[in-house]
Structure formats: structure tokens, C-alpha cells
């Protein structure tokens, strides 16, 4: 058996020079410190993205992206297709875990200040992927064409329509018209399976290439230590195997969630029906949705909702550009303000999400 594997590996290596890649990875090291655990969330996010792609492709075999057939095709997947229910449930759950993992990864990078020079582009590409991930969630939510999805998309796109200057045009572009219709479904389907994956893949390649090129960032407090005093582990096989171990655990969690809490389908969307009570967006939009509720109808002469949207937009841009305005971290100095802002942001998201959930 061993002989066969060696022969097979030798055959491949002869053609692809795999050993060079193994040697390259073997020379790569990952810093070991008390915060090393956060390094794994990048890998977990990547793993969940791969699952998304694989299950998404399988769903595509049966899904029909039109208002007349979408709901029925999902119904067919859930009831008739062998393991269709499992594929859809894993797709839905891994989407949620993907966003959660991406948020954890983003905040760990933020608190470790790993975005500092020279890793600004890694941060920016990562942030853009997170925004795209939210876009994946929003566009994918409508695809089953059920009641909840229909009205949540209506509410969500209405909020986008309130963005000053470009909001109305953006809303019409998203909806493919004035209202949420079959045209919106086709558009969202296009975004979800073509445009967003293409953009995401480009950003992912750039992101991973930069990480490989620059290596994994180490915390500020280790920078002062001599290179040979820093504890490290080889990327391959040690870190890679740990990554693999975590991926298997995530796969277990995914399977349990998919079996015990399979995705529901609800009722088919009816544009003429009144909106069901308590329409809420997906949990990752909930903090923004809930915050907008607390804004008064008018702040001076501007609508409260518009002020809220502008503030969120402004906060998002500031967050995206954090490597460029956090000068202290870039020159290796401690910046407590960044920690305070980060803690505030985390607390804000958690509290508002809980409030939105229970309201």
C-alpha cells in the first residue's frame, strides 16, 4: 500500500514538481503565542466558502431561477431529490457560519492590528470579501421565493432606496424595476451565482497570494523580540493539520445543524398578500435594521433613516480604511483608541442584534 502511494506521489511529482511546493510550505512558519487561536478563523472561513461553492453547484442542478418555478424547485429539492434537503440545509447553515467566521476573523485581525503596514491590501481585500459575503447573504435570501424572503427583500431594498443621491437608482437597479418581482429574483440569482462569486474569487486569490507572500502577521508585542526567540510552528504539516482538524469539527457542527434544524421553506411569495408580522432581515443585518428603528422620524430637516444610513456608510468606509488612519500601529506603537473603538463596535453589534432578535 505504502509502495503504491509512493509510486503515485512520485508519478505526480515528476510532472508537477509537488515537492517544491511542499518544501516551500515547509519553510513557512506560523507564530505561536497566546492569541494564535484566531489565526484559524481565516482557514475556517475559507473552508465554509468552499462548502458554499460545492453545495451551491449541487443546488444549481435543480434550482430554477424564476418567480413561477423557484419555490417549487426548492420544494422539489427538499422532498424528492436524494439528499437535496441535506445539501440545501448545509448551504444555508454554512452561509450563516461563513458570515460569523468572517466577522470573527475580521475582528481578530482588527484587535491584533494585523492590518498595519505592509498588510493594508490584505485588510482591504478581506473587508471587500466580507461586504461581498453580506451581498451573498442578501441575494441568496430571496432565491427560495417564499413569503419571508420576499418581504425581507422589499424592506431591505427600501432601506437601500433611502441612500441619498443614488439610493433610488440603486434600488431600481437591484430590483430590476420599481417593485420586487420576478425580475428581482432573476437579478439576485445572477448576482448570487455569477457576479459575486467572480468578484469574490478574484479578491480571494489576491488575499491568499498576499498572505503567502508576506506570511502570517505577528502581534505587536512580539515585534520587539528577537526573531530566534519567537516561538513558531511550520505551516506544513503542523498548522495545516490543525486547520484540517478544525475543519472536520466545523463539518460535524454543520451536519448536526443541518439534520436537527433543516432549512424551512414556508409559503410561496405572494406579492398581493399583506406582509407577515415581524419581518426581520437575516441576523447579520439585524443590528443595522434595529439601529435605524431608534432614529427619530426627522433630525433637523433630514429624515432620521437617511441620517442612520449615512452614519453606517461613513462607519463602513472608516472601518475599511483603518490601516490608513491608524498611524500609531503602523509604526509599531500601541494604539488603545483602536481597541476602544473595536470593543464599542463589537458590543454595539451584539447588543443591537439581541435587541433586534427579541423585539
Amino acid at each position: 500500500m505504502k509502495l503504491n502511494w509512493e509510486k503515485f506521489y512520485g508519478w505526480i511529482d515528476e510532472r508537477l514538481q509537488l515537492q517544491d511546493l511542499v518544501n516551500f510550505m515547509g519553510k513557512k512558519y506560523v507564530p505561536v503565542h497566546r492569541h494564535s487561536i484566531w489565526y484559524y478563523f481565516g482557514g475556517v472561513t475559507l473552508f465554509l466558502f468552499i462548502i458554499q461553492v460545492l453545495t451551491g453547484i449541487l443546488l444549481l442542478f435543480y434550482y430554477k431561477g424564476s418567480a413561477d418555478l423557484a419555490f417549487e424547485s426548492i420544494q422539489f429539492i427538499m422532498s424528492k431529490v436524494q439528499f437535496g434537503w441535506l445539501i440545501r440545509s448545509i448551504h444555508t447553515w454554512s452561509a450563516n457560519l461563513f458570515i460569523l467566521s468572517a466577522f470573527i476573523h475580521m475582528f481578530s485581525v482588527y484587535f491584533e492590528k494585523s492590518y498595519r503596514k505592509p498588510r493594508e491590501m490584505t485588510w482591504v481585500t478581506g473587508m471587500l470579501m466580507l461586504f461581498l459575503g453580506l451581498g451573498f447573504g442578501f441575494s441568496g435570501y430571496l432565491l427560495p421565493w417564499n413569503e419571508l424572503a420576499f418581504f425581507a427583500t422589499k424592506v431591505g431594498s427600501d432601506i437601500i432606496g433611502a441612500v441619498p443621491l443614488v439610493g433610488e437608482e440603486l434600488k431600481i437597479f437591484m430590483r430590476g424595476g420599481e417593485d420586487v418581482t420576478g425580475a428581482t429574483l432573476s437579478r439576485m440569482f445572477g448576482f448570487h451565482i455569477a457576479l459575486f462569486p467572480a468578484l469574490f474569487s478574484i479578491l480571494l486569490v489576491i488575499h491568499l497570494l498576499i498572505v503567502q507572500r508576506q506570511g502570517i502577521s505577528q502581534p505587536l508585542h512580539l515585534e520587539s523580540e528577537a526573531e530566534n526567540e519567537i516561538k513558531k510552528m511550520p505551516f506544513f504539516p503542523n498548522f495545516f493539520l490543525r486547520d484540517l482538524l478544525l475543519w472536520l469539527l466545523v463539518l460535524n457542527i454543520l451536519s448536526i445543524l443541518a439534520v436537527f434544524f433543516p432549512s424551512e421553506l414556508g409559503h410561496k411569495a405572494d406579492p398581493f398578500a399583506s406582509a407577515p408580522e415581524g419581518i426581520k432581515p437575516e441576523w447579520y443585518f439585524l443590528f443595522m435594521f434595529q439601529t435605524l428603528k431608534y432614529f427619530p422620524a426627522h433630525i433637523w430637516f433630514v429624515e432620521g433613516e437617511i441620517v442612520g444610513i449615512i452614519l453606517f456608510g461613513f462607519a463602513g468606509i472608516l472601518w475599511l480604511l483603518v490601516p490608513f488612519w491608524d498611524r500609531k500601529s503602523s509604526i509599531g506603537k500601541k494604539n488603545r483608541m483602536i481597541n476602544y473603538i473595536g470593543i464599542f463596535a463589537v458590543m454595539f453589534i451584539i447588543v443591537l442584534t439581541i435587541l433586534g432578535w427579541i423585539s
Binding site: Q75, S79, L245, E264
Partner: protein
């Protein structure tokens, strides 16, 4: 007897003196009588004349002056003949004021004008100058007598003819509502109410008993006494009054029974306007109890298929021969309740068992027993299928197709309940077995598969978690091994 004669004498003297007083004092009457004015002649029979209310009350002027020009001058407030809405205004100037009415010892209500203003008649006439109806159209202008006086146009026996003056006039009615029938009076004359009215029975319902008098509203108006939901209550005002109906020798529990019936609950509790009210079976203006042989036709106006099947069934001929009241024989009349399976079969209390017994009517007895067994088995199977579907659904399984088929099964049951009116076992079998039981079997299979799949998923999960965890442990041990070395 003596007391009665004294009272009569006193009354005659009293009224006579008033009349003489009015004749002596009222110069209007003196002159108008002299010129042979018919109004003056009628006025002498008028209740207002009796109550010493002179012409000036309505026409203005001064009835004490013998100079005609002075008496009918503007200075004396002469108003002349009131026209249009002025007429009702003049009447209401006294009849709406209780203090005025009390002066004349009247116990008449004072809300007539208020009521008529909300009625269908208080709309602009086609001329647009006044409302359609004024007091005098029903009560006359001169010679007005109390409602209880047989000479009054609104005396119970005269009301149908009074109303029909307009309502049977095709030319007049089409100016207002071309689609409104004008045969109400003709129909009324053929009704029990109309026939009794013609015979002088003032207790028999006339137009005002059902439609109201001053407050007559359009039958589509929810406040109308003949709005579908209000009809049973309107009819029951007389028909549930035991004392009032005692002379007619008919039951007075129709409303109580109807209220509990499937029709009554639908109409009175669920406000379902498609449910039948009294008039749906008895007719409205031509109200009579339906004849024994026409009951299935009356019920069949709504229950079309049941009626058709019954008409083609062997029961029709037998029922007619035995003078059985068709549908009513099994379903009763006013207290028709939701039909259950217990209505058929051979058990005690079932409708079939009234005629079919094991010894005298073997074939019918067997059919009734088989039909009951079949519909019971369909019920049981549907309930079982429903339970399985609910179980599968509760387990989170996608089972919408089976749920949809449950509707088909329920539909088959409904169809079976209709087909039973053909009293044909083969046809009944075709529906219950051919459709109902076949569909429920399919549902049961699908639901069971879903439930099995639910457990398969859990076992599958256990196996996959075991394998993945085993793999994870292997990797963990391998990491420890390479890191030790």
C-alpha cells in the same frame, strides 16, 4: 251596559260640540264648504278637525276673519298650498314636537320625520326639487284618520294597496330602479299573509310589518329589517310570539330551531350572506310553506347536485307515493344540522333505519349498512393519514405534496356525501374506494416514507459524526506524534 251608554253619549256630545265650535269659528271651512271644495269636505272627517286644529295650522292665514282677502293675506301669515318637502315640514312642525302633541292628548311617537329622513324614500325625486315621498302620499292630505281607522290608507288591510300605488307602477318605478320587481303586490296576494289580509285579518303581516313604516330602508342596507341577516329576527317578531300566533295553530319554535341549524349559524353567527334566511325557502312576498313534493326543488336551488341525484334516485318515487317531504324526511326543516355519518346506516337513530329494517327491506338495509361502513372507513383513513402527515411535518420534513393530497381526500369525502343522495351503492363505492381510499393510501405511504427518512437522517448523522470525529482524532494523534518527534 249602562256605563257604556253614558260614555258613548258623553263622547258624542263632546265631539259634537267641538265640531260645531270649529264650524262656527272656522271661516276657512265656511267659505270652502260653500264653494263645494272637496278638501273642505274631507277635512270634516279629518282627525285634525276632530282635534280642533284648523286649516291655518298647515296653510297659514286667519280663520277668524270673514273677509277672504284679509284672511288669506300675507299679513295674516297665509302660506297657501304647501309643495314638495314643505308638506312634510308642515306635518313635522307639530308631529316632531312632543309638547305640541301632548296638548292634544296624543300618544303618537314624534320621531316619524327623523325615521323617514333615514329611509329609502327620503331621496331626491327625479325632478330634483323635493324628496320622493311626503307624508300625504301614504296618509292623505285632507281626511287624515288614525292608522287604526279602517278608512286610513295605512290601516293594516289597506297598506298593501297603498304601497302598490307606486310599487306596482312599472312606469313610475323604472324611473328610480329599473331592475326592481313590481310584482310584490301580486305575489303578496298569493301568499298566506296576503290571503289572510284580504280576508280581513289585521294580524297577518302587511308590507310595514317586514319593511317598517317610516324607516323603510333598501334591502341591501344592513340596517334594513329585510337585510338577509335581519330577516329571521323580523319574521320571528310574529312567528315566535306564542300568544300572537295562537289563533293560527302553527308552531312558534322555528326561529329557535333555525338559530341552531347549520344555516342559522352560518347566517347569524358567521354573517355568511350566502346562507339561506326564511325567505330563501318560503319566498318573501309570496311566502308560503313549500309543498311536500317541491321541497327538493327548493333545497336544490342551492344544493343543486344533491337535488339532481335525489330526483334520479329510487327514493324520489317512493317518497312521493308515501307523501314524505323529500329532504326534510332525513334532514328536518328548520333545525337542519351538519350532516354526520350517523345520519346513514342501520344503527338506531339513523335516517335510513326509519324505513329500512333487516327483515322487511333486506336490500336497502344491506346498502345502508355498507355505505355507512365505507364512509366510516374513509373517515378513519383520512384521520390516520392526517395524523401521519402532521407527525412528519412536526419532525421538520417537507411534506407539502402529501398535505395537498389530504385536500383531495377531504374532497372525495365531500363528493361521497353528495353521491349518497343517488342512493346507489356502486356510485358511492366508486367515489369512496376509487378516489378517497386510494388517495389516503398514497398519503399514508408518503408520510411513512418521510417519517422513516427522518430517522434515517439521524442514524446517518450518527454514522457521519462518528467517522468525522474518528478522522479528527486520528489527525490529532498524528499532530502529537510529529510534534513529539
Amino acid at each position: 251596559m249602562k256605563q257604556t251608554l253614558m260614555l258613548l253619549l258623553f263622547s258624542l256630545l263632546n265631539f259634537g260640540s267641538l265640531a260645531i265650535y270649529a264650524q262656527i269659528e272656522d271661516q276657512c271651512l265656511t267659505c270652502h264648504e260653500a264653494i263645494g271644495d272637496k278638501a273642505a269636505e274631507l277635512y270634516k272627517t279629518d282627525i285634525h278637525f276632530v282635534k280642533n286644529i284648523s286649516c291655518t295650522a298647515c296653510h297659514g292665514g286667519n280663520n277668524q276673519l270673514d273677509d277672504m282677502e284679509a284672511a288669506m293675506s300675507k299679513k295674516e301669515g297665509f302660506k297657501g298650498v304647501p309643495k314638495g318637502d314643505e308638506i312634510s315640514e308642515r306635518c313635522s312642525s307639530c308631529h316632531s314636537k312632543s309638547e305640541v302633541m301632548k296638548k292634544y292628548n296624543s300618544n303618537l311617537p314624534t320621531d316619524q320625520i327623523e325615521l323617514i329622513q333615514n329611509s329609502v324614500h327620503w331621496q331626491k325625486s327625479i325632478s330634483g326639487n323635493s324628496n320622493i315621498l311626503q307624508c300625504i302620499n301614504c296618509h292623505n292630505a285632507h281626511g287624515i284618520v288614525p292608522v287604526s281607522n279602517p278608512a286610513s290608507p295605512v290601516y293594516s288591510l289597506n297598506i298593501p294597496a297603498t304601497c302598490s300605488k307606486c310599487h306596482s307602477n312599472a312606469i313610475y318605478m323604472r324611473s328610480y330602479n329599473p331592475s326592481m320587481p313590481i310584482d310584490q303586490y301580486q305575489k303578496y296576494l298569493t301568499s298566506i299573509h296576503g290571503m289572510k289580509n284580504r280576508k280581513g285579518d289585521v294580524k297577518a303581516a302587511d308590507c310595514s310589518d317586514c319593511h317598517g313604516s317610516h324607516d323603510i330602508r333598501n334591502s341591501h342596507d344592513v340596517k334594513s329589517k329585510v337585510y338577509p341577516i335581519n330577516i329571521p329576527k323580523t319574521c320571528s317578531e310574529c312567528h315566535s310570539n306564542h300568544e300572537y300566533m295562537s289563533s293560527y295553530n302553527i308552531p312558534t319554535d322555528q326561529f329557535a330551531k333555525y338559530s341552531k341549524s347549520v344555516h342559522g349559524v352560518a347566517l347569524l353567527e358567521k354573517n355568511d350572506l350566502s346562507a339561506p334566511a326564511c325567505n330563501s325557502c318560503h319566498g318573501n312576498h309570496a311566502a308560503v310553506p313549500p309543498g311536500v313534493q317541491s321541497i327538493s326543488k327548493v333545497c336544490g336551488t342551492c344544493h343543486v347536485l344533491n337535488a339532481e341525484l335525489f330526483a334520479g334516485s329510487p327514493h324520489k318515487k317512493v317518497f312521493d307515493e308515501k307523501n314524505y317531504p323529500e329532504c326534510e324526511t332525513c334532514h328536518k326543516n328548520h333545525e337542519i344540522v351538519t350532516a354526520t355519518n350517523d345520519l346513514i346506516g342501520v344503527e338506531k337513530g339513523s335516517a335510513c333505519s326509519k324505513c329500512h329494517d333487516e327483515l322487511s327491506n333486506v336490500e336497502g338495509y344491506k346498502s345502508a349498512r355498507t355505505m355507512k361502513q365505507l364512509i366510516d372507513s374513509l373517515d378513519t383513513r383520512i384521520a390516520f393519514a392526517k395524523k401521519l402527515v402532521e407527525d412528519a411535518e412536526q419532525k421538520g420534513m417537507e411534506i407539502s405534496e402529501a398535505k395537498f393530497k389530504l385536500r383531495d381526500a377531504a374532497q372525495s369525502k365531500q363528493e361521497a356525501r353528495t353521491v349518497i343522495h343517488s342512493f346507489n351503492l356502486d356510485k358511492f363505492n366508486e367515489v369512496v374506494k376509487g378516489k378517497g381510499l386510494t388517495t389516503t393510501s398514497l398519503i399514508i405511504v408518503e408520510a411513512r416514507e418521510s417519517i422513516d427518512d427522518y430517522y434515517f437522517r439521524r442514524y446517518g448523522l450518527a454514522v457521519s459524526v462518528f467517522i468525522i470525529t474518528g478522522l479528527a482524532i486520528t489527525i490529532f494523534l498524528y499532530i502529537r506524534k510529529i510534534e513529539k518527534s
